[in-house]
């Protein structure tokens, strides 16, 4: 479910079922032309759909991290910080999803699974494995 679909009462009663948080990363540099930004967001939405739809009952999608600071190391630290806060707030797993190919082989601490431009079958397999491994 998306963060915007929750109210306090539902969250208190169903929180234990929703133990996975999805952190979308648009990773825009700001150099792109407006229509390219629109296009990047559309590709991010397609990537998110591969996880959000099949796992609607266990994942909560957070607002996206839109821009990427140039320094990669700092950027990774920023994402790791957000991920650890998500875990502190009650989520067991954090899945980061992006459509920017530059993040392909990044490893980010506190993020259990990083998916870049995933298609349906890979998402299904990887998320399934993630949950089975630690269930």
């Amino acid at each position: 479910m998306k963060f915007s679909e929750w109210n306090e009462a539902d969250w208190l009663s169903l929180q234990l079922y929703f133990d996975t948080c999805i952190l979308p990363i648009t990773a825009l540099s700001g150099l792109e032309a407006p229509w390219q930004m629109k296009h990047a967001l559309e590709r991010l939405r397609d990537a998110l759909d591969t996880v959000e739809v099949p796992f609607k009952g266990r994942t909560v999608t957070m607002p996206a991290v839109q821009y990427r600071i140039a320094d990669e190391h700092l950027f990774v630290q920023q994402i790791a910080g957000i991920a650890s806060n998500c875990k502190a707030s009650g989520f067991k797993y954090v899945i980061a999803i992006s459509a920017a190919n530059e993040l392909l082989n990044l490893s980010i601490p506190n993020v259990d699974l990083l998916l870049v431009n995933p298609d349906k079958s890979t998402s299904l397999k990887l998320v399934g494995e993630l949950w089975q491994k630690q269930d």
């Binding site: 229509w35 390219q36 296009h39 559309e42 590709r43 397609d46 190919n101 431009n117």
Partner: protein, 285 residues
């Protein structure tokens, strides 16, 4: 007296005493025999003549409706649309035009909106009391008739001026007017038949196209963003493999050369060749 139920005589009602029995009150029409000539009963004779006129009208009316569809704007009202020329319906044009003259605008608008129209409609409504003479023939009632003719001419003139001014403004806004609008509308009408993505799980698509720079503009599903960025679906109908390779190398129209950008991204010549091959297969079956 009450009638037996089954007597076939018509039921006669007791007159209601409160209703004054008026024998021939003066308002009943004088028998038209007072006007010599051939009067005829209303139904069926005269009504038939009226309905014949109505039939002629009806045929014309239906022809008009069948030939001209009722106009409807393309989109719902857009209050922000500032360059739309507002025009009231045709029968209010004379009132609208009246406001555009020196002594009926700004300081004097009250003349244009209240006093003059008020006079016009007021006089018209009170006509029988203003022109209360016996005489009915219009040429024998010069004041009333001339006033009416004058206001008729004025109304027609105002409507005409307003309409031509509107047409003039329309032409100024988009020269060529109707003809241009028709052209603009025509191409969109025949929407391209939706062409399906061919060989979606072909390896060339998986590991070449998804990583190439083409993705940035033409999108993961090759739909692109018409009209600026063309769709690649059905591109095989337009270009052969060689032409596609040439376009990747040299670009076309607003698209710049993509060859070196893709090489920089780690794609090899062989990848680009298989990509061109795959794109040339994108045909609308």
């Amino acid at each position: 007296m009450a009638q037996g139920k089954h007597s076939d005589e018509k039921v006669l009602y007791v007159g209601d005493s409160r209703v004054r029995q008026h024998k021939n009150s003066e308002t009943t029409p004088r028998d038209y025999t007072a006007y010599p000539g051939k009067s005829e009963t209303f139904i069926p004779n005269f009504l038939l003549k009226e309905w014949i006129v109505a039939t002629v009208f009806m045929v014309g009316f239906m022809l008009l409706i069948i030939s001209k569809p009722a106009p409807l704007g393309e989109t719902p009202a857009n209050p922000m649309n500032t360059d739309f020329i507002p025009m009231p319906d045709w029968y209010f044009l004379f009132l609208y035009q009246l406001l555009k003259y020196a002594y009926t605008a700004d300081a004097y608008t009250v003349f244009g909106t209240v006093i003059l129209p008020g006079l016009l409609f007021g006089a018209l409504t009170l006509a029988p009391f203003l022109d209360s003479g016996e005489e009915r023939r219009f040429y024998k009632r010069p004041i009333a008739s001339s006033l009416m003719i004058l206001s008729l001419v004025a109304v027609v003139y105002l409507t005409y001026v307003s309409w031509t001014h509107y047409q003039h403004e329309l032409d100024k806004k988009n020269p060529g007017g109707k003809a241009v609008q028709e052209e603009k509308k025509k191409p969109e009408k025949k929407k391209a038949k939706a062409v399906a993505l061919v060989a979606e799980d072909d390896p060339a698509n998986k590991n070449v196209y998804q990583k190439s720079t083409c993705l940035m503009c033409h999108g993961t599903d090759l739909k692109g963003m018409p009209p600026g960025v063309p769709t690649l679906l059905g591109i095989g109908d337009k270009y052969s493999k060689e032409e596609i390779t040439k376009i990747i190398k040299e670009g076309i129209g607003t698209m710049t050369a993509q060859y070196d950008a893709n090489i920089a991204k780690g794609l090899t010549d062989q990848d680009l060749d298989s990509l061109a091959e795959w794109l040339s297969k994108q045909k609308s079956e």
